[in-house]
């Protein structure tokens, strides 16, 4: 079974925010909530890079570990999802997540924090696949339609790769070999564990190009 993962190629990201727009549009995400956003690294410094960040669907997800009501679950494909009917909006997951993925919409007149919302890898949630209830709570279930997440499919430079970890690692490795640089994968080691042979490059905090291990280390 495939293990779904994201890779953002910092050499290719042009900060167009197409992924953010695609996600907002596809899932009809409310105002104030950004499941995905583009972050600039070393802003203003020559050689600055941009990456697209959302829930990475970690192999050993810290949000799952800290949730007091156990509303999270992991699908067979390695996608970390949660049940909004169980979530109490406490925000612990927000503190635990290294990527700042959990978002909390403001509800009501006084802006009370609502139930947590995050990237679902376009896999919906624990409602009937493709149902109206699923769409309203979690957004579109593209995986059940045989499609990949909208952010990655919409990325104009194909900087954002999504799909089976084995496949996206292969695509990224081919690029690195062809261009001879840019092997750093931001967030890969944090989300999926170091794959053993990967070592951080000198002067950078990223992780080198992942090898072809589909499970990515942990779990």
């Amino acid at each position: 079974m495939a293990r779904m993962k994201f890779i953002c190629d910092a050499e290719r990201c042009i900060e167009c925010n197409g992924c953010v727009t695609a996600c907002k549009n596809e899932n009809e995400v409310p105002w104030g909530v950004n499941r995905r956003r583009v972050v600039t690294l070393n802003d203003g410094v020559p050689g600055e890079k941009s990456i697209s960040v959302a829930c990475m669907h970690c192999s050993d997800a810290p949000c799952m570990a800290v949730c007091p009501v156990n509303c999270f679950y992991r699908t067979e494909e390695g996608v970390v999802l949660h049940d909004k009917d169980v979530c109490i909006g406490c925000g612990y997951c927000s503190y635990a997540c290294p990527f700042g993925a959990p978002q909390f919409p403001s509800k009501g007149t006084f802006g009370v924090r609502g139930k947590m919302d995050k990237c679902t890898f376009c896999a919906g949630g624990p409602e009937k696949n493709g149902s109206q209830a699923e769409f309203e709570k979690y957004g579109r279930n593209r995986l059940a339609e045989g499609k990949l997440p909208a952010c990655a499919e919409m990325c104009s430079t194909k900087a954002l790769l999504a799909g089976d970890g084995d496949m996206v690692a292969d695509i990224f490795r081919t690029r690195v070999v062809a261009r001879g640089k840019g092997a750093e994968v931001w967030g890969w080691g944090t989300a999926y564990g170091n794959s053993g042979t990967a070592t951080p490059p000198a002067g950078g905090a990223g992780t080198s190009a992942p090898n072809a291990q589909p499970s990515g280390g942990k779990s």
Binding site: T75, V86, L148, G163, M167
Partner: protein, 85 residues
């Protein structure tokens, strides 16, 4: 006879007491409702990508792999074009 009964009662009490002290499982569970796997499809043909059969996990995996390669890996197309020249 009386001693035997007392012994039996004591044994039963000990078993119950020990069972009461048993540690509960601390496995990380989930309170979430069960979710249907994505390869079951949505049942809405108009939005479903062609090329795979709902309910067949292998065809779904293959479809996503093909889609991912076609949409995200331009090197396969470049290499094919170069090879054809």
């Amino acid at each position: 006879m009386k001693a035997r009964t007392l012994l039996c009662a004591a044994a039963c009490a000990a078993v119950l007491a020990l069972a009461g002290c048993g540690e509960k499982s601390q496995d990380l569970g989930t309170s979430a409702k069960l979710d249907a796997p994505p390869y079951d499809g949505t049942g809405v043909a108009s939005f479903t990508a062609p090329g795979w059969k709902a309910g067949d996990a292998n065809s779904w995996t293959q479809e996503l792999r093909t889609r991912g390669q076609y949409g995200q890996n331009e090197y396969t197309r470049i290499l094919n074009t170069t090879a054809n020249k």
